[in-house]
């Protein structure tokens, strides 16, 4: 397929998926809509994460910070501003925080960057908790004026579609090429004339804006928010998990993984929450070990390779256990002596 055909295919897939998403509130039950909402939330979060962090290999754990900032912006401003303006404000505030944070930490790479973004997230969470406790004297905030269920659903759907579209568009521009170039070799990208500092800042702010908007849109669903729920590091972890399991470098990987995860979460979480988390951990380990490029890289050949690997392994074990290996070694030794 050439470039144009791939674009057409991607657009068509996105279009049909959007259609399915749009029709869900009309035929689905409440349960299905709420499941769809979680699914769309993680699609938006992990696609935007993959756009910056997947391409540049900067492992950011700050998603939950931006999510929480968006949620708090919404809680504070929803009554003064309208619905759309609140979400835009949430995205703007999160992006502004990301620019400040990015300016401080984006010159560090690898583990330092991951650890530092995690530390900053926790710092923001504890700072908000402390501020709420000692200055405003509350633990959480109650959102009294809440839009309808369908409004929330459509907003999050819209955000998810925008994110996937943005991810498609950026991949086709110079910015996307620059991001991939930074991921492959940052110094080489610099030498070739990419202004890596600004590219990274822009990418990071873009990720944060999406997370902030999603946070603002999702906060009204809970109607009561406190720092512990909206700055929950688990939101960040799960985003990273989904993106990595799906394939952070790919366009559709995060989406596939988000759907799989929402289904898994809803079926397992109520009966056995610990089993759900355990399977999450196990899946992540298996995925990193055996499918490092993510679910999106799964092809028919992959199964064949695995099958051949297992067969070869079993053959080797059998040779060892039946003593065939030892005999071969001895024979070789005897031949050398002769």
């Amino acid at each position: 397929m050439n470039d144009r055909q791939i674009l057409t295919r991607d657009l068509l897939v996105l279009f049909s998926l959007t259609g399915w998403g749009l029709s869900l509130p009309y035929f689905g039950s409440d349960f299905m809509v709420s499941m769809g909402l979680t699914c769309l939330m993680y699609i938006a979060l992990s696609s935007s994460w993959g756009l910056f962090c997947g391409n540049t290999r900067y492992l950011s754990l700050a998603t939950s910070a931006f999510f929480g900032i968006g949620a708090y912006t919404c809680a504070l401003q929803l009554e003064q501003l309208g619905w759309a303006a609140t979400i835009a404000l949430g995205a703007g505030v999160a992006a502004a925080v990301a620019v400040v944070m990015g300016a401080a930490v984006l010159h560090l790479r690898g583990t330092y960057f991951a650890v530092l973004t995690f530390g900053m997230t926790e710092l923001i969470r504890h700072a908000v908790t402390y501020y709420e406790k000692s200055v405003t004297g509350t633990v959480g905030r109650v959102l009294t004026v809440v839009p309808e269920r369908d409004t929330i659903y459509l907003t999050v759907l819209c955000l998810a579609v925008i994110t996937v579209g943005l991810s498609m568009w950026v991949r086709r521009t110079r910015l996307g090429l620059a991001l991939v170039g930074i991921g492959a070799d940052e110094q080489r990208a610099q030498t070739l004339g990419v202004d890596t500092r600004w590219v990274k800042l822009l990418g990071f702010a873009m990720t944060a804006a999406v997370a902030g908007a999603v946070g603002a849109a999702m906060s009204v669903r809970w109607t009561y928010i406190d720092p512990h729920t909206v700055f929950n590091p688990f939101i960040g972890f799960q985003t990273v998990l989904i993106a990595l399991i799906g394939g952070a470098m790919t366009l559709w990987g995060p989406l596939i993984a988000a759907v799989v995860f929402s289904l898994l979460a809803e079926t397992l979480r109520l009966q056995a929450p610990q089993v759900y988390m355990m399977s999450l951990g196990l899946l992540l380990i298996l995925c990193v070990l055996y499918l490092p490029a993510g679910l999106a890289s799964l092809r028919w050949d992959t199964w064949k390779i695995w099958r051949d690997d297992i067969r070869a392994w079993w053959k080797e074990r059998r040779r060892e256990w039946t003593g065939e290996k030892e005999r071969d070694k001895r024979r070789a030794r005897e031949q050398r002596l002769v």
Binding site: T111, G119, H126, F237, P273, Q274, G281, I285, V288
Partner: protein, 296 residues
């Protein structure tokens, strides 16, 4: 403030700092040697604490006797984990950067797995037992006996670990591997044997730390994560891969927390340690105690 009160404050900081140092040493060993940043380290500490609690309440064995048991159980578990996960990761990763990122992800998976396994098996309640709760007077200040024992043992194990690395042939091999893994292999150091062993040793140390903690504090499945974060902070303070730095950093962080909490208030403890952490990472990413000229 009187001198006695200062001593008491610094003493209580040192006691928590001793445990921090022990946890951080194990984690630093794994990172410095194999570039595995084991985010699940605190979870294994929690497993050690639960093991001790279980055996102590069921059989009545003294927690002090449980120290070698916890060390052995977690050491073997560590070797098994290295055999199952990280051995394959080393052989399939194209370069060290990618290995580090993948190792971090595997450790995240381990964290979810272990933490939820424990809370599934034993439930999420707070647990604890009484052990040596009578206060002992040290230089005029009363200190709980169990905390003093915890501090002494944590310091003993930390210093033992440092001595092992400095004075023995095994330690020399490990330090050589830290400096240059290719060079170490060239002079005949067996990486394939040393790596699982050191990973097991690191986890064993976390098991010991968990065992010690269960003597003085209540335990819960979620207790591991704060210690992981603290260990990360300590490692950053001391410099990634520097053992003496981790020991000093742990004690220093304990004291900073105790003094800071005294002057502000206890709910600022987490905020304070994160602020220290971020400040150090931004201003001196190579650690407080390393010289600038040496490359990390």
């Amino acid at each position: 403030m009187a001198l006695g009160a200062w001593l008491e404050l610094i003493g209580s900081g040192l006691i928590t700092g001793g445990v921090y140092a022990l946890v951080a040493l194990g984690m630093n060993l794994q990172y410095g040697l194999m570039r595995i940043l084991n985010i699940a380290h605190g979870e294994f500490l929690m497993v050690g604490a639960y093991l001790t609690w279980m055996v102590h309440t069921a059989v009545g064995l003294s927690p002090v006797l449980m120290i070698p048991v916890a060390f052995l159980v977690l050491g073997v578990a560590g070797m098994a984990i290295h055999f199952l996960c990280f051995r394959r990761l080393v052989s399939t990763s194209p370069n060290l950067d990618i290995f580090e990122a993948r190792g971090l992800m595997v450790a995240f998976g381990l964290m979810f797995l272990v933490q939820n396994l424990v809370s599934w098996l034993w439930g999420g309640d707070l647990r604890g037992y009484d052990f040596l709760t009578d206060p002992v007077s040290v230089a005029g200040a009363p200190v709980a006996g169990n905390k003093l024992l915890v501090f002494a043992l944590a310091l003993l194990f930390s210093l033992g670990m440092l001595a092992l690395l400095r004075a023995t042939l095994l330690g020399k091999g490990v330090r050589a591997l830290m400096q240059s893994s290719v060079g170490a292999q060239l002079v005949g150091i067996d990486t394939k044997r040393l790596h699982p062993m050191m990973f097991g040793l690191g986890l064993g140390l976390s098991g010991v730390a968990g065992c010690l903690l269960s003597m003085a504090y209540t335990i819960a499945p979620s207790m591991g994560e704060p210690y992981t974060v603290t260990a990360l902070i300590v490692i950053t303070l001391g410099g990634f891969g520097s053992m003496g730095g981790a020991l000093l950093g742990g004690l220093l962080l304990g004291v900073v927390e105790a003094v800071g909490m005294h002057y502000t208030n206890p709910s600022l403890k987490a905020l304070l340690s994160y602020a220290v952490f971020i400040a150090v990472l931004l201003l001196r990413p190579e650690g407080l105690f390393t010289r600038k000229t040496r490359k990390a």
